[in-house]
Every structure is written in structure tokens, then in C-alpha cells.
Amino acid sequence: MKRLINLKPSKPLAFALGILPFFLIAVLYVINSNARLAENADDKLLPPVSKMADAIERLALEPSKRSGEYTFWIDTASSLKRLGLGVLCAAALGLLFGIFTGAIPLVKSGLSPFLTVISLIPPLALLPILFIVFGLGELSKVVLIVIGIFPFIARDIQRRAEEIPNEQLVKAQTLGANTSQIIVRVLLPQLMPKLIDSVRLSLGAGWLFLIAAEAIAATDGLGYRIFLVRRYLSMDVILPYVAWITLLAFIVDQLLALLNRKLYPWHSQGNR
């Protein structure tokens, strides 16, 4: 018998082990749900899977009686639009800040302490200000996401820019490159895959700020919906919505990883 640290699972075993926790959770849920329903057929806390399917069918496949819209898809589209816009702006802003503070010492001295302080402000504490300044519309939600994640991206990109071996910058200079050429041809392309990695890491926070903003002031959106139906203890809606949000987050993350591999093949392998 080998030592435990040397035992490596075969591919099918690794897959089975990966599935196992999900399966266990599902089984636990069904057992407990059945137990509660046996006592009280109207129990709302752990609804049966069939009831969740009904709820989603109602929201996703039938037009709403009130507005004639497909609530589930409207919610999804609104949330993804806010998140996408917010993350895109944050990434652009973060890249801009990060690349200039990372490449130019004078800019770093000017902006780095400021950026550090900004990143320490809890974004949710700014939410009332955003509602006051930008109103309750889309803008305040997008701005919350931007403020929430851009300092992280900016500081991450700055660190990544500083990590690029100085030898490359010296080499470019000995070939006659000026500052803007070095930024555009040496730093920027090497930071793009790092930016995608950074966005992947900050998406979790992005969802957090999105749902918080929607919970407080919105008329649609995934976060709005689950906080709305909470009043009626509609676990049959909340649970599938949470699963859906998780799935969306997973898909976005995997798409970004795929994008990184396709666009920057030199990044994932070797990397020197």
C-alpha cells in the first residue's frame, strides 16, 4: 500500500469523487424534504423537486399574467446586462489604472496610495450615496459593481505589470523602443490574459454587489426576484433561482477560461 499522499485517482474515479458531494447534497435534501412533507403536506421550507419545477415552468415558459412577459428570462437578461456592463467598465478602468501605475513610477507614486484607500472603502456603504446621486435606475447598480471590483483589478494588474521581468523592458529599450511602444507591445499583450484571470476572480464579488443592489431597489433581476418572493416564503422559486445564478456564474467563468486559452496560447503553457 502506497502512502496516501502518493495515491492518485484514475480519471473515472476522479470524476466520480467530484460528483459525490453534489449527489450527497441532493439525496440529503430529498430525504429531509420528504420527511417534512410527510408531517405537513403544505410545508414551504423544503419544497419537493416537482414543486420547484412547476414554479420555474410558470416563470420561464408562461407569460406573466400581469405584464405578459417571461419573468425568468427578463430577470436573467436584466441581471446579466448589469453585471456585464459593470464588469466590463471595471476591467477597462482597472487595466488603465493598473498598466500605468505598474509601468510608470511617477504615476504609481501619484495614484497608488489613493487606490489603496479607495479599495478599503466598503462598497455597500456607498450604495445609499449612489442611489442619491445616480437615482434608483440602472446606473447606480452598474456603478456599485464598478466601484466594488475595479480597485481589486487595478491593483492586481499593477502587480502583474511589475512582475514582468525587467530584462524584457531593458531589451526593448536597447532595441530603441520608447515608453508608449513598450506599454503597447510588451506590457499590454502580456497583461491581457492576466486581466481575464483577474476578472474571473472578481466575478464572485460582482455577483454579490449585483444582488445586493437589486435586493434594495429594482423592478426586475434575479436578485430582485428572490428577495421579492422571500416575503411569501417561496423556497420553490428561491432555490432554483440560486441554482440558476450559480450555473450562470460557472458558465461565465468557464467561457472566460476558454477565451484565455484560445486567445493567448503562450500564456497557459510554459509562460516564459
Partner: protein
């Protein structure tokens, strides 16, 4: 001509180089040896412009050396001097683009086509014509350094600085690289400064071999005195380096 006049380099209390006085003629191939931390890399960095001298003068053709790296001095490092996000061809073409003034460092249209054909020709000369589309991480150590040397020469430098360029290569590949460097040195009329840990390599390649060492020691303050050039040996190609080896001991 490069003149070094009473050059000192120190970081605070820590003296690295002291009383360096030496003159180098155009076309010299200088190899620099010495134990670790004795200032040979620091001297190379002073020549490169990434470090500034503390006292004294460092003149190229009578003018003080530029205080930042520039196209008149080429450099090959032991590693990391290639651009990892560019293919072999792009690495060379980028060097062509950096020569020109511009904002982006990209070439377009006719200039791009010309740079491409020139780059392909150059890569053929250094034996990399079959690897044009490869990224640096896909190349062997020897191929990487060959590309780095080809790239360094594109800025048409008069002075080429080599910082242990072959330290990480296998002996067989190393001999090949020695021939390449010697050929390029003669062809382009370069003045070369090369830091090496390999004394044999130093004698084989150089026309002058410098040994860096400390002449003064203070056991109470090991950093109080810096190193200087303790031996400046002319090496002719037919001299027996074994004899010189015994001389340095």
C-alpha cells in the same frame, strides 16, 4: 573607445567597485570572471545604463555614457530577454518596429512586409527558419539564446553586452554558440563585454580577460572595500590558456 576613469560604485555603505581604471579599444572582446558578488555584473549594468556610477567617469568615445539603456548597447541576458507573447518571427519583427519612431510599436503595410522578409532572412542565417511560428517556451535553450543574440544585434549596437548568456546550456550547444558569437563579433566589428563563470570559456572567446576581485579586506567590515580588476590579461588565440590558468592562481 571606452574609458573608465577612477570609477566607484557603492550602495550606501556597501562598496561594490572601487578605483576602476581601464581603457577598451573598439573591437575588443572582453570576458569578465570573478567570484559571485564581486561586481562584474554591476559593471555590466553600468555599461548597460540600468545602474548609475557613484564616482568617477565612464566615457564612450569621450562622452559620458547614457544613463538609460539605448540602441547603441545591445544586451543578451541568461534568460527572460525574449518576448514570451510573440512568436520567433514576431520577436524579430518587433525589434524592427522599435527602431522606428511611433506610438504603438506595430508595423503596417509596406513596412510590415519589408520587416517580415528581412526577419525571415535573418532567422535563416541563425538557423531558426523552421521555427518562425513557434513561441519562445517551445524552443530549446540553445535556440532561445540564438534568437536573443539575433534580436540584440538588430538595434545595430556597437557594443554588445552578454550576461552569462550560455550559463544554462549543455556543453555541446555551448560550443556551437561560441562559434556563432565569434562569427558575429568579427562580421559586425562589435566590442563585446561578456560576464562568465567559466574560466575556460573566458580564455577561449576573449581577446582580453578581466579578473574581478577585492584587493583590500577588512574582516570587521566585509563591505567596506569594493572589488576592482586585479588581472587584465591579453589573450591571443594561439596562447596556451593552461599557462595563463596557472598564472592566475
Amino acid at each position: 573607445m571606452i574609458e573608465v576613469k577612477n570609477l566607484w560604485k557603492n550602495y550606501g555603505e556597501n562598496v561594490v567597485l572601487e578605483q576602476l581604471n581601464v581603457t577598451v579599444a573598439e573591437g575588443d572582446f572582453i570576458t569578465m570572471v570573478g567570484s559571485s558578488g564581486c561586481g562584474k555584473s554591476t559593471f555590466l549594468n553600468l555599461l548597460l545604463g540600468t545602474e548609475q556610477l557613484s564616482r568617477g567617469e565612464l566615457l564612450i568615445n569621450g562622452k559620458p555614457i547614457a544613463s538609460e539603456p539605448g540602441p547603441e548597447r545591445g544586451i543578451v541576458f541568461q534568460q527572460y530577454s525574449l518576448f514570451p507573447h510573440m512568436t520567433v518571427l514576431e520577436n524579430i519583427m518587433a525589434a524592427k518596429a522599435f527602431e522606428r519612431k511611433g506610438f504603438t510599436g506595430y508595423l503596417f503595410g509596406k513596412a510590415k512586409r519589408e520587416a517580415k522578409s528581412a526577419a525571415e532572412k535573418l532567422l535563416k542565417e541563425v538557423g531558426l527558419e523552421h521555427a518562425l511560428k513557434k513561441y519562445p517556451h517551445e524552443l530549446s535553450g540553445g535556440m532561445k539564446q540564438r534568437l536573443a543574440i539575433a534580436q540584440a544585434l538588430l538595434g545595430k549596437p556597437k557594443i554588445l553586452l552578454l550576461d552569462e548568456p550560455f550559463g544554462a546550456l549543455d556543453p555541446g550547444i555551448r560550443a556551437e554558440m561560441h562559434q556563432l558569437v565569434l562569427n558575429l563579433w568579427r562580421e559586425h566589428g562589435l566590442t563585446i563585454f561578456m560576464v562568465t563563470h567559466d574560466l575556460k570559456e573566458g580564455f577561449y572567446l576573449g581577446t582580453r580577460l578581466w579578473v574581478f576581485d577585492k584587493t583590500r579586506h577588512d574582516p570587521q567590515a566585509p563591505n567596506a572595500y569594493g572589488a576592482t580588476i586585479t588581472y587584465d590579461l591579453p589573450v591571443s588565440k594561439n596562447s596556451n590558456y593552461e599557462n595563463l590558468l596557472s598564472l592566475t592562481k
